[in-house]
Symmetry: C2
């Protein structure tokens, strides 16, 4: 995935995960698998779990423990109102950065 991508993920990975949860509730293992499937090949499981703990502590998600057919019970996360609000701010920040980067890429210093 490259070191540059890793550093870029700081600050955006959280938004990515919240955006996934905005689509539908999900649990850690599932999210990790989805990310890897999308090309974030080097995402460590530990990274996702730590992130989920963080957003839970901040009250951006609700959690439900759901028994699994295979393996230990899942912790299913869903975005709550506060999380949705936070996600909006994330998109605003993303737009801000994205616009400036695109301008730079086109050489428009």
């Amino acid at each position: 995935m490259g070191k540059q991508t890793t550093e870029m993920l700081k600050g955006t990975l959280e938004g990515v995960v919240l955006a996934i949860l905005a689509g539908q509730p999900a649990y850690g293992y599932e999210i990790t698998a989805w990310l890897r499937n999308q090309g974030f090949s080097d995402i460590a499981e530990g990274t996702v779990y730590a992130l989920l703990v963080r957003v839970e502590k901040r009250g951006l998600v609700d959690v439900a423990k759901v028994p699994s057919e295979k393996g230990p019970p899942r912790k299913v996360y869903s975005l709550n109102d506060q999380g949705r609000e936070y996600l909006e701010e994330f998109w605003a920040a993303w737009r801000f950065l994205s616009e400036r980067l695109e301008r730079l890429r086109e050489g428009g210093r």
Copy 2:
């Protein structure tokens, strides 16, 4: 500027500065002023100087000391070949992330 933007800058600010230097050589104070002018209102001077020291150590830029009419001499940085190569990788990483984020924003989970 917001906390989210700050976290997002990690990993991208470096690319932004290198992209500026790709346009033309510049010195720290100038770069800081330019960034603030572009809406990165909270960029601390110290941040830019530390970043420039970093990229210099990694050999991505060349440095020339140029006397200033006002104040102490300027350290003018210019992107070298290695820096240009690194910048290419940065844009590749940016495209990668950008594509996936845009897809997510459109709800296309």
